[in-house]
Amino acid sequence: MSTKSGKPRPGDRVGPRQQHNWDWRAASNFIAGGTGGGLLAFAAFASLWGTDVRALLVAGMALIGIGLTCVWFEIGKPWRALNVYRHLATSWMTREAAVAPFVFGSGVLALATGQSLFVLLTGIFGACFVYAQARILAADKGIPAWRHPRCMPVVAATGFAEGASLLAVAAPFVIPQVAGQIAVAAGVLALLLVRVLLWRNYLRGLRGDGAPEGSLRALSAIDGQFLKYGNLLPAILLLVGVLGAPLASPALILAGLVAVAGGWWFKYTLVRRAAYTQGFAIPHLPVRGRGTAGPAVKPGWGGA
């Protein structure tokens, strides 16, 4: 098992390995739920200017519902799912689940009554949902790429960026004023900038602090394309929209869809491909044989 570098090869489950317990269904919850929560937050924001956001509320709740349904199909004992509400004190999964009824309750009341208070509450609960999801990953100490302190901000940021991007997709239909559409485009631009900065900060942090080689490989593999196609391309399209070119509306729609797709790609990569376990490490090889201790061993880690 030794290599020429003298380091042990990560074999026999000594080094980090890719997790296989959370598959596409769990990833879908972070993908759809994050976007849905972000959309509700920005729909509520847009409603402050009199925008008719009913369709956006329905879409946001549907996305969250799809995500939770995917998780329901993933858990081992789906008919015990209500047990998820038992640990509000420390579990962010419980808190995520606890926010969901408030999202749907206030959302339905907003749709039924048209009261702006309920619209705003739906947006606030949607934002809480995004935050809770980001904290779920951060609390999972067994996956170094998730527990890194710079992971939570980028997961939350992409949820909000995706939500705002879907608002941009809807803007040509629900915001007739050009000024309003420009404001949405400017907002999405700002959020994409924040997402890029947090993403780069996260990647730099992982490389600087050290992480499983598999995580670094998976995240580095999407870095360039995520920047170019997930952020720069929609940013250019948004600028086209802002500058009022003849194709402003299609540009906004396309920009929003591309930005959402970029975020979904990132989250899928994070939850599935980059999710490597901690692996094992020992600070001292035991004293045996020649009577001297050996150096520390930490196979399968890179960076730092």
Binding site: N83, R86, K141, H284, P286
Partner: protein, 215 residues
Amino acid sequence: MTRYVMAIDLRRCVGCQTCTAACKNANATPPGVQWRRVLDLETGEFPDVRRSFVPVACMHCDEPPCEEVCPTKATTKRPDGLVAIDYDTCIGCANCVMACPYEARSIVHEVKFAYGDKPIKSEEVRFDPARISVSMKCTFCIDRIDLAAKTGQVPGRDPDVTPACVNSCISGAMAFGDIDDPNSKVSRLLAENKTFRMHEELGTGPGVYYIWDKA
């Protein structure tokens, strides 16, 4: 107070995997699932090579991250330090699997036996259908520890109330007992030797101490 811990002398472990087999027999874990296993580390370059063996399982942490993230309270930390799972409450969400930095937990969704569809004798006796589709892990042979409270025996001293892996260890590398009892074997071993705990920097406070040199 009582705080049960394990001390594993890495200088003594020969990597025979008897503890792995004993655990499998005692707990009837399904194929592919080993609550206790022994890592085989070969390091260095010829002629300066070393081979070390590191038995690992649930560390029964002071601050178990699995308990913190568990949405159902199925995972609990007992006053005696054991981290337990209520199989009838667990929903099998795998959040604890993600939270454990020791890869101690697994979830199996199908009934599987070592040799096909029919259980062998030990599996027949010990197969627990409640463990299907929920999280499971090393329990420190919790039923034996609980038996000690009834019989007055001492875990770590009396084999009937000591984890199967510790009983089985051929080289005497594994010890179990109450770290709060200064006269227990583990307390003496920890006082007489240099130890480390796995991934201590994560703040989990593992309940397994690895001995690597004399103090």
